[in-house]
Subunit: 139 residues, 2 copies
Amino acid sequence: MRGVSYVLRPIGVVRSQLQSREDCPKQGREGAPDAWLEIDSAFVDALEGIAIGSEILVLTWLHEGRRNLLKVHARGNPNGPLRGVFATRSPDRPNPIGLHRVEVLNIQDQNNIRVRPLEALDGTPILDIKPVLTDCSRQ
Amino acid sequence: MRGVSYVLRPIGVVRSQLQSREDCPKQGREGAPDAWLEIDSAFVDALEGIAIGSEILVLTWLHEGRRNLLKVHARGNPNGPLRGVFATRSPDRPNPIGLHRVEVLNIQDQNNIRVRPLEALDGTPILDIKPVLTDCSRQ
């Protein structure tokens, strides 16, 4: 697979009060705020079927992630052991794709989706949205 | 965000008996087989901490997905209603990233990981691996 690459084009952007990595809780459920998903109007048709009150998975591009790190201190604790990044949710990873499970709070103008809780910086590109499957074990 | 793009470099490849989209069940738990994750040896360090018996999320590049479709028939049923792709798990979507929750069955030579069930074609590029968080509501 070496040398092969694929191109991602964002479908939208996160609007949040989180302005820097230092503002972010370590996991979304530990105090992350509500945020807006501003979806590009070209993708309005792709949103049909997403309802207020439902849960969705938001995939993001963690644009501040360091792609050359293979090990990190779990949960950012410098006193903890080093772990392989694939055994952590660190934003530092070869392909820094973020995965966030959120509730849809509101939808405005068809393409602005209010969600919570979202641990993602303001300006984070959005790559994809998926439904949560009803059997949570399927994910 | 228009015009911005990001480059993904696969970390490995799926080895599976599934050879075509017609072979695939609609969701992994509906009969998908065991498969191997062949991780590039450059990323062995990033796997440290992944244990046999644990559950992981595997992110893939659904290389046969059609990126220009915004609506599809849910679960591939041509008699069903059209839905926005972001309200489905269709492989046809603007950024065709697949998300699979699997169990680790075996690890060989540090970088070959046997998992099940995996609904992904043989040759599917692997983008990322993440741990399943213990509270399943977190994803």
